[in-house]
Amino acid sequence: MARIEADDLRKVFRSPDKRPGLAGSLRHLVERRYSEKVAVDGISLRVDEGEAVAYVGPNGAGKSTTIKLLTGILVPTSGEVRVNGIVPHRNRVENARGIGVVFGQRTSLWWDLAVRDSLELLRDMHGLSTAEYWANLDRLVEMLGIGDLLSSTARRLSLGQRMRADLAAALLHDPPIVYLDEPTIGLDIEVKDRLRAFLRQIVAEGTTLVLTTHDLGEIEDVCSRLVIIDHGRIVHDGGLRQVIETYARERVMHVDLAARPVSLAGIATRLAGATVIEERDGLGVAVTFDPLAHTAGDVLTAIQAELQVVDLRIKEPAIEDVVRRVYAGQLIPGPDDSPDDSPDDSPVR
C-alpha cells in the first residue's frame, strides 16, 4: 500500500531581482523583474507502508523543498502528490493528523513552555485520549530518554535535548508517516546512536519513514532504500545494496607482505582492469578490482603467484562513497531518470 505518491512534482520559486543599493531598490518598484529558481524539477516517488527511505543529496539539491511539498507546507507549482490518500496542501489539517515531522533546524515546541506543556498541547490538538497520551508518552520517554527534560522550558534545552523532545512531539500521536529533515544535525555520537536505535524500532513496527540527512551512518543503519537527488531531480532510486553495487562496485584488497616486492607489474598483468598500488612503505599492496570481472579468490591467487602474503583485508564499498561521488557531481541524471530505470542504464562517469 503506497503511503506517499508523488507524480512529476515541480516547485519553482520566484524571487525579486533587485539590483544592489537604493537605486536598485527604487528601480525595482517601477520595473519589476524576477528570477525563477527551480527547486524541485519533476520528482516522482512512491513510498510504501513500512518503508524507510533515505533522501540524500548535496546542499540545495531540493531535499527540504520536497519534504515541504510532501508535508503540505508548500504548494507545488505543478504535479500531483498524495499522502495517506490525501492531497496535503489542500487538506492541510487532515494531512497533519497522519504525519509526524521534525525539521532539524526548527522546533515544533512552544519556546516559552515546559516540554510537558507543549506535549499536552499537542495531545489536545490531536485529540488523544488520556490513556493514549500516557501510553505513547511513557514509551517515548523511555526510548528517547527524555524523562528529566519534561519540566524544562524548551528554550533552555541543549540542541540534543531539544531534538529528542522534538521527536517526541512529532511521534506523540503515533503517525503512520514520519518525515525527518536532518534530525541529527549537531548531535553527539551517543545521542545519535540512541536516535538510530529508536528509528529502527519505529520502522520495524511499521512506520513509514522519509529521512533526509548528511549522516551516512544513519542511512546505513536505518534505511533500506536510497533516493539520491541532485539539481531537483532524482538521479537514483533503489535498494541500498543495489545502489552500492551499481555505483560503488569496486572492492579493495589490502595485502600485507613478508618482504618488499621487486615489481608489481606481474599482478597487474594477471588481473586485467584492476589497479595495483604499493602500500605501507612497500610492505603492502592494495588491489582495486571489480567483483564482476574478478573474484576475490582470483585476486588473491594472482597476488600469491607473485608475492608472499602475510595477511589480507577486503574493504567493501560504503554508501559514503556513492554519496561522495554524487556530491562531487560524478553522477549525472540521465535523459530519462524515472525511478524505475534499471540502475545499470544510468550513466556513471
Binding site: E49, S64, T71, V93, E94, A96, R97, M125, H126
Partner: protein
C-alpha cells in the same frame, strides 16, 4: 509491497469531535496567556508607553474642556470615552502580529502548517488568550487613571445592551485587522512599515485620540464606513450614552459586519499567502 493490512502503528485517522476541537483551541489560548505571563516585563513596558500616552491625552482634554463643553463632550464624558477607548485599544496588542510576522519571516510558520489545527482559528485562540491578560492589565490601568482624575461615570443605562455587544466584538474585530496586516508579510518580507501603517490608521480612524465627531464632515463619513470605528469609537460612545436607539444598533451592526467580513477576508488572503510561502533552509 502489497500489505494492505493496517499495522499497529497506523491507527485509522480520526476526525475529532467538536468538543475535542474546542479543547485544542482552548489549550492554545491558555498557552498564549501563559507565554505572555512569561514575557511580563516586556509586555508591561509596552503597556507603560501606552499608559503614558493615555494620561497625556487625559491632561490635554482636561485643559481643553476646562472652559466648558466642546462639540457635545463635557469633561466627565470625555474621561470615560478616552478610558474605554484605552481599554479597547489594549486588546490584541502588537504582540499577536509581532509573533505571527516573526514566524512568517523566519519560516517557522512551516511548523504551524503541520499542526492539525486551522491556522486562523489558532491565531484567534491565541489572541483570546493574550486578551485575557491584556484586558486585566488594561482595566487595572484604566481604574487607576480614573481614580487619578476623579472617577468616571458608570455606563449609560439607555445603551447598555448595545455597549455589551459592542464590547464583545472589539477583540475579534481588532484581530481581523491585525491578522490581515501580519499576513502582508508573506509578500513584503518586512513588517516594520506595515505595522506602523496599521497603527497609524487605527489611531486616527478608531477615534481613540480624538472622537470622530471632531472630524470634518467628509472624514466622519469615511471613518463611519471603515472598520476602525468599531475598535474604540463605537463602544466608547455607547458607554457614555452618546449613541442610543436605532443609531446605536446601526453602528453595532456595522461593527459586527466588519468583524465577519474581515474574518473571511483573512481567510481569502491566507489562501493566497500560503501559495506565496517560501521557506529557505531547514
Amino acid at each position: 509491497m502489497t500489505a494492505a493490512v493496517t499495522l499497529p502503528s497506523a491507527p485509522p485517522r480520526r476526525t475529532p469531535t467538536v468538543r475535542q476541537t474546542l479543547r485544542a483551541y482552548r489549550a492554545m489560548g491558555r498557552a498564549a496567556f501563559r507565554s505572555l505571563v512569561a514575557y511580563q516585563t516586556s509586555f508591561l513596558f509596552g503597556l507603560l508607553a501606552t499608559t503614558l500616552a493615555a494620561v497625556a491625552m487625559l491632561y490635554l482634554w482636561r485643559s481643553v474642556l476646562a472652559a466648558g463643553r466642546v462639540n457635545g463632550f463635557d469633561w466627565p464624558a470625555m474621561k470615560a470615552y478616552l478610558l474605554v477607548a484605552f481599554v479597547a485599544g489594549s486588546l490584541v496588542s502588537s504582540y499577536v502580529d509581532y509573533r505571527m510576522a516573526g514566524r512568517i519571516q523566519q519560516g517557522d510558520v512551516a511548523m504551524d502548517l503541520v499542526r492539525p489545527v486551522d491556522y486562523q482559528r489558532s491565531r484567534l485562540a491565541e489572541a483570546l488568550g493574550f486578551g485575557g491578560y491584556e484586558l486585566g492589565t488594561g482595566l487595572v490601568v484604566a481604574a487607576a487613571a480614573a481614580a487619578l482624575f476623579g472617577g468616571v461615570p458608570a455606563p449609560a443605562h439607555r445603551s447598555l445592551g448595545a455597549f455589551a455587544v459592542s464590547a464583545v466584538l472589539v477583540l475579534p474585530l481588532r484581530f481581523g485587522i491585525v491578522y490581515i496586516s501580519a499576513l502582508v508579510v508573506f509578500w513584503t518580507r518586512n513588517y516594520v512599515g506595515v505595522q506602523s501603517a496599521r497603527i497609524a490608521l487605527i489611531t486616527l480612524f478608531s477615534g481613540s485620540l480624538v472622537p470622530l465627531s471632531f472630524f470634518p464632515g467628509w472624514l466622519q463619513g469615511l471613518a463611519a464606513a471603515l472598520p476602525f470605528a468599531g475598535m474604540a469609537s463605537t463602544p466608547a460612545l455607547l458607554y457614555i450614552g452618546r449613541l442610543t436607539g436605532a443609531d446605536a444598533w446601526r453602528d453595532v451592526g456595522v461593527q459586527a459586519a466588519w468583524t465577519v467580513g474581515l474574518w473571511w477576508l483573512g481567510r481569502a488572503m491566507w489562501r493566497g499567502a500560503s501559495r506565496q510561502l517560501t521557506v529557505h533552509g531547514g
